[in-house]
């Protein structure tokens, strides 16, 4: 069950959830008749009512100022994934792996930022988060080059800027 800040915007995030769920329903079904759209509306409202009632909704999930920063971050992440993926492919075909364990410090304040940082480390091929202590991650890297790339702290700084 997520812990919510008392001052996080409740109405706005419910509206954002409604738009996202209805867009997902429309993409999956693809019908434009009035009756079927009405059924979709009913099901989306039912799902939202259920999840508000069972208190399993996270109101921190959509800060509106994130909407501008997020596409820039995603483009940077895709670039990073392609770069380290090419390195991993080279290592696999040549066979000169030198696996390394290292500890990485996470300077994010809240839990969402830490989870996002660990996800980003695992998502780039070549580095995997094994264990999460309070603010240090135990990371397994496939080669020395990838480990140094992670230790330079560029990703840490960027994700810290994302979760102000």
């Amino acid at each position: 069950m997520p812990k919510n800040n008392p001052d996080s915007p409740k109405t706005i995030s419910i509206i954002v959830y409604f738009i996202l769920l209805f867009a997902l329903w429309f993409v999956l079904s693809g019908y434009l008749k009035t009756l079927l759209l009405f059924f979709g509306l009913i099901s989306v409202i039912f799902v939202l009512w259920m999840s508000v009632r069972s208190k399993s909704l996270n109101y921190d999930a959509f800060p509106l100022k994130l909407l501008i920063k997020l596409p820039i971050y995603w483009i940077w992440l895709i670039k990073e994934i392609i770069k380290s993926g090419l390195t991993t492919t080279k290592i696999i075909w040549k066979g000169n792996y030198t696996p390394q364990l290292l500890k990485v410090k996470a300077s994010q304040k809240n839990d969402t930022g830490k989870a996002n940082y660990a996800n980003a480390i695992t998502l780039t091929p070549g580095t995997v988060t094994i264990e999460i202590n309070k603010d240090t991650f135990l990371v397994h890297a496939l080669s020395k080059e990838l480990a140094e790339d992670l230790q330079s702290g560029e990703m840490d700084k960027l994700i810290k800027g994302l979760h102000k």
Binding site: T88, T89, I92, W93, T98, T122, L123, H140
Partner: protein, 103 residues
């Protein structure tokens, strides 16, 4: 324009197939569990991304391409979770990686 769409579809499709093949070769060649997770991550990110990109170019912009775009979106959320869970449980149940911890 038609030629461009055709040849870029072929190029990205075989780029994705190459990454998937090299990921599965890495699943055979690499020495221990923690290294093999990297190969599986290569399949999940780059192989899926390039193959879905080629299918989107082939189908043109429609509702189908939005539906195709949902596949890498779901993988973006599920792949790091399962990779982290596998490595965490392997570490907890006593399999040590071959690499030593560096200070």
């Amino acid at each position: 324009m038609g030629y461009l769409i055709h040849y870029s579809t072929i190029f990205f499709l075989f780029l994705g197939c190459f990454f998937i093949l090299s990921g599965s070769v890495g699943l055979i060649k690499l020495p221990d569990v923690f290294s093999r997770i990297h190969a599986a991550g290569l399949i999940d990110t780059l192989g899926t991304g390039f193959i879905i990109l080629s299918l989107i170019i082939h189908s043109g912009f429609s509702l189908l391409s939005l539906k195709l775009l949902l596949i890498p979106l779901f993988i973006l959320f599920t792949s790091p979770i399962s990779g982290h869970a596998i490595s965490l449980f392997a570490h907890e149940s006593g399999y040590k990686p071959k690499a030593k911890l560096k200070r």
